[in-house]
């Protein structure tokens, strides 16, 4: 479904991704763990073409995409939904217009269908009836969920989450994690979740990948990761209650 082959990304003389190889199959939930600044967001942004790799290939749905033009990339972004670390909602638009934004651009649907899809997407994140509010009138946790609804409205086959629970309180964190699991299973999406929350990775992931300084230092099922000897993995595991 998604495959990275020898992915290299540099900024100036700093190499952030150093020849990363990773293959994710259809329907899998993969957690990518790593400390801040290791290039997790850079990996996701390369996937949706917000950044382009300097070397290597990215295969999505059987197609090498890293050298597509900006216009051709629209097709990739259509099936590959990204949920950003910030809610990234458009302040001047209502919640309705925020969720409808992608439907209007990518698909140009008639208004009736848009209204229906917006309502469905908001119901999926358990926030019905907030259409007419402004983002500023919602709590941070609600904004993150609206942001998720905005991505889900396009019914992407692939979902990329950038630190979905960072800066959320413990209760909302659990709610969002349950939502990710529930949605991935119900909508049969392939999901990559970037996080540094080992506890929820162990609970939800089919596979956990640990990144350190632009390379994969460990990967495996939650069970395999629990038994890993890699020091960084041990550091992450130290936070997990036995």
């Amino acid at each position: 479904m998604i495959e990275y082959r020898g992915l290299v990304k540099r900024f100036g003389d700093r190499t952030v991704l150093k020849g990363l190889n990773l293959r994710i199959s259809e329907g899998e939930i993969v957690f990518v763990l790593g400390t801040s600044g290791t290039g997790k967001s850079v990996l996701l942004k390369n996937t949706v073409g917000l950044l382009r790799p300097d070397e290597g290939e990215i295969w999505i749905d059987g197609r090498e995409v890293s050298r597509l033009s900006e216009e051709e990339y629209l097709g990739v972004r259509r099936i590959c939904g990204m949920v950003f670390q910030h809610p990234a909602l458009f302040d001047s638009l209502s919640v309705y217009e925020n969720v409808a934004f992608g439907l209007r651009r990518h698909d140009r649907l008639p208004e009736e269908l848009i209204r229906q899809k917006v309502a469905e997407a908001l119901a999926l994140v358990h926030l019905p009836g907030v259409e007419e509010r402004r983002p500023a009138q919602l709590s941070y946790g609600m904004q993150k969920r609206v942001s998720l609804a905005r991505t889900l409205a396009l019914e992407p086959k692939i979902l990329l989450f950038d630190e979905p629970t960072t800066a959320l309180d413990p209760i909302t964190t659990t709610a969002v994690n349950n939502l990710i699991q529930e949605l991935s299973r119900r909508l049969r999406t392939t999901s990559i979740v970037v996080s540094h929350d080992m506890i929820c990775a162990l609970g939800i992931a089919d596979r956990i990948v640990v990144l350190d300084q632009g390379n994969i230092v460990a990967q495996g099922t939650p069970r395999e990761i629990r038994g890993s000897e890699v020091p960084l993995v041990q550091d992450f595991l130290a936070e997990v209650p036995a």
């Binding site: 942004k45 949706v48 073409g49 917000l50 629209l74 972004r77 259509r78 939904g81 990204m82 950003f84 670390q85 910030h86 809610p87 990234a88 909602l89 458009f90 934004f101 992608g102 651009r105 990518h106 942001s147 905005r150 991505t151 396009l154």
Partner: protein
């Protein structure tokens, strides 16, 4: 040396951004409604300041010219000189400085915030082109409204000059306006508006570019606003010199040898 290289680098990047902006403007036109909204916002935000500044510039010009022209018995030309001076030199520059302080700072902060909170990335992911939907409407809004503001400011400056001319030099309003058409020729009107448009293009490019390319959280937004102010001021002063020089050449050509 490093500073110079950095400055040249930035000028190059800004120019490339401007080229991309123009390309987008013609290849994929923005929604008309967005442009109208932005123009309306900018004009409305700046109209009171412009009107007030216009009135006082007219008044100051009238007072200054009165002192010198009384000795020559040329007070009949007071209105004409004050108005053409305002239109060709003071007006465009003042409008540009005012817009850069108000709208330029606001625009770079707004776009910078959208950049660092990933809203611009979100726009791209949701199938839209940020240049087409965010940058071009703001750019055109500033450029179009600068001309509207220059017109409004000019009217106010005539009013200001008329009032002060009347109070200070006892030039009646009819006398004040009578010779405006004599001195304010079409080429000079054109030059005034062209100058204003050039300044607006410069400041709109800088503020949208700085905001659009902001990095590094709230601090980055602050940096974008500060560098917008500094580079706009420097570019405006240079452009004022360039446009005055060009205008002089054009006027000479128009008059003939």
């Amino acid at each position: 040396m490093n500073h110079l290289a950095h400055a040249i680098d930035e000028i190059g990047r800004t120019t490339m951004f401007f080229a991309a902006l123009l390309k987008t403007m013609f290849r994929r036109p923005s929604r008309f409604g967005d442009v109208v909204d932005q123009t309306w916002n900018v004009t409305l935000q700046s109209l009171p300041t412009t009107a007030m500044a216009g009135f006082f510039v007219g008044a100051i010009m009238a007072v200054q010219f009165t002192m010198q022209m009384r000795d020559f018995g040329a007070l009949g030309y007071l209105g004409g000189l004050a108005t053409s001076g305002t239109l060709r030199e003071v007006g465009p520059l003042l409008i540009a400085f005012m817009l850069s302080g108000k709208v330029g700072a606001y625009t770079s902060a707004e776009l910078g915030t959208m950049r660092v909170t990933e809203q611009i990335d979100a726009v791209r992911c949701l199938g839209a082109d940020p240049l087409q939907e965010l940058i071009v409407p703001r750019f055109l809004g500033i450029v179009i409204s600068s001309s509207l503001l220059l017109g409004a400011g000019l009217l106010m400056s005539v009013l200001g000059g008329m009032t002060l001319g009347h109070l200070f030099a006892h030039v009646s309003p009819e006398e004040y306006v009578r010779h405006i058409p004599t001195i304010l020729t079409w080429p000079s009107i054109l030059i005034g508006f062209a100058k204003c448009a050039v300044f607006a293009v410069v400041l709109a490019t800088i503020c949208t570019y700085r905001g659009y390319s902001a990095t590094g959280g709230a601090k980055g937004v602050g940096r974008a606003v500060v560098t917008t102010a500094v580079s706009t001021m420097m570019c405006l002063v240079v452009m004022d010199w360039v446009t005055s020089y060009l205008a002089e050449a054009v006027m000479t050509l128009a008059r003939g040898p």
